[in-house]
């Protein structure tokens, strides 16, 4: 039976998803073994239940990210923290040395104070950007910025066939 695969984009640059697509024609072979049930590249708004493998790119930076990752954890058997943002916080976490107010002011001037309605409905920045495993339990860690297509391919091939991977042999922080 085909496994249910989801890919998720939290606070990252989508580079990990680009790397996923860089598997090129190997995706066709892999696709024999999975259904892509949720992803930025498929039209599915709600994260479905009983997902076998979720590849999660990006760090947890907003209240929406936090809500999403908790739901994903509940509905996923094997949660993969994909890429340095998910694994370490990486570039998004470089804001952690500053307060949220000072960051908003740097980007938008006094608008958050004078025109708060502009920001209504947008996810709120958390005081601190966190790697995924500081929020929910993670099953597999894949560092890299981004992890290479070869790394993602080897990982998926093994996970889809129920095997395990020695990730440190494939990739590292900053790879």
């Amino acid at each position: 039976m085909k496994k249910k695969l989801a890919t998720v984009w939290l606070d990252g640059c989508s580079g990990c998803h680009m790397s996923f697509l860089d598997m090129d024609e190997r995706l066709i072979d892999l696709a024999e073994h999975f259904d892509l049930v949720y992803s930025p590249i498929v039209d599915q708004k709600i994260f479905p239940p009983d997902v076998d493998i979720s590849l999660v790119e990006g760090s947890v930076s907003t209240d929406a990210d936090e809500h999403k990752i908790k739901l994903i954890r509940e509905r996923t058997a094997t949660l993969v923290s994909l890429g340095d943002c998910a694994v370490t916080g990486n570039v998004p976490a470089m804001r952690n040395a500053f307060t949220v107010d000072s960051i908003l002011e740097r980007a938008f001037g006094d608008r958050p104070v004078t025109h708060p309605e502009i920001f209504q409905g947008l996810p709120k920045l958390l005081p601190r950007v966190r790697p995924i495993h500081e929020v929910v339990k993670v099953d597999v860690f894949v560092p890299g910025c981004p992890p290479s297509a070869d790394t993602i391919y080897t990982l998926l091939r093994e996970l889809l066939s129920g095997g395990s991977v020695d990730v440190a042999r494939l990739t590292r922080f900053g790879a």
């Binding site: 370490t88 570039v91 040395a97 601190r128 790697p131 860690f141 560092p143 440190a168 590292r172 922080f173």
Partner: protein, 239 residues
């Protein structure tokens, strides 16, 4: 040198080895091609046992010994790689990564960093400890070099090479615990240091991106700490 060297015999990872009485466990191991990971150690500099990566087990005691600063003894039975040691090495590396801001993806030393390489060789895929994300300064006041405290692991190689090899002693360490920082002269901007000779030795021995040559930014240039062994040889083999 005519005097006979005292020789000790010991066993490392089940291999019988002999070593001069004044050698460390690390030296004896490496002479016999037994690998022990190190970070603060550098051939040609004195050893300080700062990083604790080279810890080994010695039969008969529960204590762990930093092999870079522990002399060989007759009959020692040493193990360099057990589950316990590997656990502690990984923990040590994780603490180094968590303590400051090691953002490998945007670091000048990405791909040429000893901390990064050690993390990978010791099987690190993530850091269990919560990251501290301290706010740390970057000193780019020197004409040619930059000091980035975000990447510093306080191995003190820069302090030692400047004092022991260049003889300038521009570098030192100020503060304790999480407040410890490498400083130049009396904690002043590097560019204003009067003792610095701009020789660049500190930059070449720095294992991370904490000290770098401005002209190397974006070039993925590797550092060349091996100059030390040549230099010491030229000066009459004092290493």
């Amino acid at each position: 040198m005519t005097q006979a060297m005292e020789v000790k015999t010991l066993r490392i990872d089940g291999v019988d080895v002999s070593a001069r009485a004044d050698q460390t466990i690390l030296e004896a191991a490496r002479e016999n091609n037994i690998a022990i990971p190190t970070l603060c150690h550098l051939d040609g500099l004195s050893d300080v046992g700062a990083c604790r990566l080279c810890l080994v087990e010695v039969a008969g005691t529960n204590r762990l010994f930093p092999s870079c600063v522990t002399r060989v003894e007759e009959g020692m039975q040493i193990t360099t790689s057990t589950d316990r040691l590997q656990k502690y090495r990984r923990m040590t590396l994780e603490l180094l990564f968590a303590e400051r801001n090691h953002v490998c993806s945007v670091c000048v030393s990405n791909g040429a960093c000893e901390l990064q390489a050690l993390g990978q060789s010791q099987g690190l895929t993530h850091i269990e400890f919560p990251y501290r994300f301290p706010q740390l300064p970057v000193d780019a006041s020197h004409e040619r070099f930059t000091l980035d405290h975000n990447r510093c692991i306080l191995c003190t190689r820069c302090v030692r090479v400047c004092g022991e090899i260049e003889g300038a002693h521009t570098w030192d360490v100020m503060g304790r615990g999480e407040k410890a920082r490498v400083i130049t002269d009396l904690d002043q901007p590097w560019g204003t240091s009067e003792s610095c000779t701009s020789c660049g030795k500190c930059v070449e021995v720095c294992p991370t991106g904490a000290l770098f040559d401005k002209s190397d930014v974006g070039t993925r240039a590797r550092k060349h700490p091996e100059f030390l062994t040549y230099l010491n040889e030229m000066r009459g083999g004092q290493s």
